[in-house]
């Protein structure tokens, strides 16, 4: 009896223990798309609006329109950013995924290397109207150079400096800063009475990467060598990361609480007149959703050391945006192609980009006057003249995680009052680099 009892306890315990190792699953998958399920499509959209409901409201009428025209029903799921990459990875591993999906354009090369997405060769591009419909800079962020793109551009965005007009007026500042020195000086004048000069999202890994990547460019650093090896500890990279964290650590123009921000709280602070500036990508729609009137904020190109944005070390934004990809395992490849053609057509490009406050990466749609407003003109100019694509290497996604985390930890140090020095920044970046595969 005792033995039976012991065996039972053992069995129950074993099953509890085993759940520790039972990670992963599913079956390996091969092959590529066919047309065995022509009537429907599943579409994973990324969260572009103020919340998931807004996205559904924007997209559903367009999907209904598509169904009316083609008879294909599109099942929509809006996936939050925090889940999207994991969902795609899981879908890749199991072979059970959507037919068409949005991806952050910086993930293009990483996802391309997994082979999960349909490559856009000339033949496929022809089916949606040709490669030359798209703006060249946007195509620069669709995968490793020299390979067929893993996705096509859907929405384009760029970083710019947004400033709160009311707070600027109260401080008697008439001209928004154009250089980093000016930004720090302006920030110091604005930081008082519990209000901060500029906001950051210290715990948002992707945003951290976008910011330090641009600063890295300005310091002549790239974070990857030309042959695609991680290079996080170059003097330029260290200086870039330190410069960004120093907004809080040395200059104290960022409120300490920003170190734990990761859900756009800095934009909410901005809308509530608690923070005077933010460096952000196409923030107009979010400000509106936060109840801030369009006239209450201004936007200028993000600062560069010389004050004049351009190429090389005068880059002041990444090429931000969303790409549309077709999952290789789709059971409705013709329908998926039709859907991509529909979404990148002039009419939908105008409707969707207007709704989201972004810029169409399709040349013919960009001409619409709606994309030449004071809110969007600086962004368009930035995209055309002074934006650089994040490294198009397979390890980009890992880079976002490890360096983004390093910056997060440095912000945590700064917020706790610990010194952030060149040595401490280098140590964090060294640790990040060691976590990269094949280093």
């Amino acid at each position: 009896m005792r033995r039976i009892r012991a065996a039972a306890v053992g069995a129950v315990t074993l099953s509890l223990v085993l759940s520790a190792a039972a990670c992963g699953g599913g079956s390996p998958s091969g092959g590529s798309g066919d047309n065995s399920r022509p009537g429907t499509l599943t579409y994973w959209a990324s969260n572009q609006g103020a919340n998931l409901e807004v996205d559904k409201k924007v997209l559903q009428p367009e999907l209904d329109k598509f169904e009316k025209r083609t008879g294909i029903k599109v099942k929509l799921e809006v996936v939050p950013w925090s889940d999207l990459l994991n969902r795609i990875l899981t879908a890749t591993t199991s072979g059970q995924g959507p037919d068409v999906l949005n991806i952050g354009n910086t993930w293009s090369a990483s996802l391309q290397s997994s082979g999960a997405l349909l490559p856009w060769d000339e033949k496929n591009f022809e089916r949606i109207g040709g490669r030359d419909r798209f703006v060249e800079s946007a195509l620069g962020s669709t995968g490793v150079r020299g390979q067929d793109p893993a996705a096509v551009p859907l929405y384009s965005m760029a970083y710019a400096l947004y400033y709160n007009k009311k707070m600027f007026a109260e401080a008697g500042i008439t001209k928004p800063p154009a250089t980093w020195d000016e930004l720090v000086a302006t920030g110091k004048r604005l930081t008082k009475d519990g209000k901060a000069g500029i906001g950051v999202e210290g715990s948002n890994l992707s945003n951290n990467i976008h910011q330090v990547f641009v600063l890295g460019k300005q310091h002549g650093a790239d974070f990857f060598t030309p042959d695609g090896k991680a290079d996080f500890t170059s003097d330029g990279a260290v200086a870039a990361v330190k410069q960004y964290v120093d907004l809080m650590a040395e200059h104290r123009i960022v409120a300490k609480g920003n170190a734990e921000y990761a859900q756009n709280q800095s934009l909410s602070d901005f809308a509530k007149n608690r923070t005077a500036m933010v460096l952000w990508q196409t923030a107009a729609a979010t400000f509106k959703a936060q109840g801030m009137d369009d006239s209450a904020w201004g936007v200028v190109p993000a600062p560069v050391p010389s004050g004049k944005p351009g190429r090389g070390t005068a880059v002041n934004s990444m090429v931000a945006g969303i790409n549309l990809a077709v999952f290789k395992n789709t059971k409705n490849i013709d329908g998926a192609m039709k859907f991509v053609e529909f979404m990148t057509g002039d009419e939908e490009q105008k409707i969707l980009n207007k709704a989201y406050g972004s810029i169409p990466p399709v040349t013919s749609a960009q001409a619409d006057p709606a994309f030449n407003t004071p809110a969007l003109a600086p962004l368009r100019r930035t995209l055309a003249t002074s934006a650089a694509a994040l490294p198009q290497v397979p390890e980009e996604s890992q880079f976002e995680t490890v360096v983004g985390t390093a910056v997060k930890e440095l912000f945590a140090d700064a917020a706790a009052g610990r010194p952030v020095t060149t040595a401490s920044v280098r140590a964090k970046l060294e640790k990040a680099q060691q976590q990269m595969p094949n280093t």
């Binding site: 009896m1 009892r5 992963g24």
Partner: protein
Amino acid sequence: MTTTAIEKTGGRTVPQRDPGAEHGPRRPGRLRALGLPYLLLLPALVLEILVHLVPMLIGIVMSFKELTQFFIRDWGTAPWAGLDNYAVSVDFDAPVGEALLKSFLTTCLFTLLSVGLCWLIGTAAAVFMQETFRGRGLLRTLFLVPYALPVYAAVITWAFMFQRDNGLINHVLHDQLGLTDSPPFWLIGENSFITLLVVSVWKGWPFAFLIMMAGLQNIPREIYEAAALDGAGVWQQIRRITLPSLRPVNQVLVLVLFLWTFNDFNTPFVLFGRAAPESADLISLHIYQSSFQTWNFGTGSAMSVLLLLFLLVVTGLYLTLTSRGRKSADA
């Protein structure tokens, strides 16, 4: 509870009381009686194999493969890595192994404190709730609320409460009581260990309370009464009667709490998101990060297998030691 059920079944298998035996040599009936337990166990067994064993075996296979992003679409094509993934995981001088070791030690400390506190609070509450008093039912229900709440909803609420600028915790500690010079961070930096511990204990102690309460109700009241007549005080009653009687319950409780806490993924993941602060980098989250964030599922699986081995060894040792203790106590 499982043990009690087995015990009864075990009791019924004594030959003389076997229903099949009573009816003489009716073979089919006997066969049925012999086969029935297995038939009843079959669904559980099949599910156990499908849900736990198969993924676990796949995980073990994965740990011997170089399963990076280039091969996740078709695992079969991933090259074999031999013991490379294990070598990387246990090379404590190199960054990956060092981080794993640190995470392991953090998890050990966390588990020790969390299980200890859960047990202490749960036991104390259960002992005090033995006496009948007005509002006992209400308190019992109230105590079980954390156990009844969905983990995600509860932990998200805690994450809100622990926010530095707008959270309830800092509002009380800093704004109202003035205990700190400046509002501390709870979700980043060193304090995150405390945050994790608080939420884990809050979530875990009602289970200990529930099990202890059930255990206490099995101790006959007469023993206490006799002890009281003999002049034993409350403390002596707890030490000499309650705790020894609860020994078998405790053995299972501590083991289950240990495994749950050591493997806890939801709490740190919901509290800290995809990059936990170093001081709260629990092993399950660490392994998740090693697999999903760096897309290196081979190394992640190797770490998982190591964790599995560790837990098996600990559990095996624990069961051996406690059953030996029980045997000698029985004898």
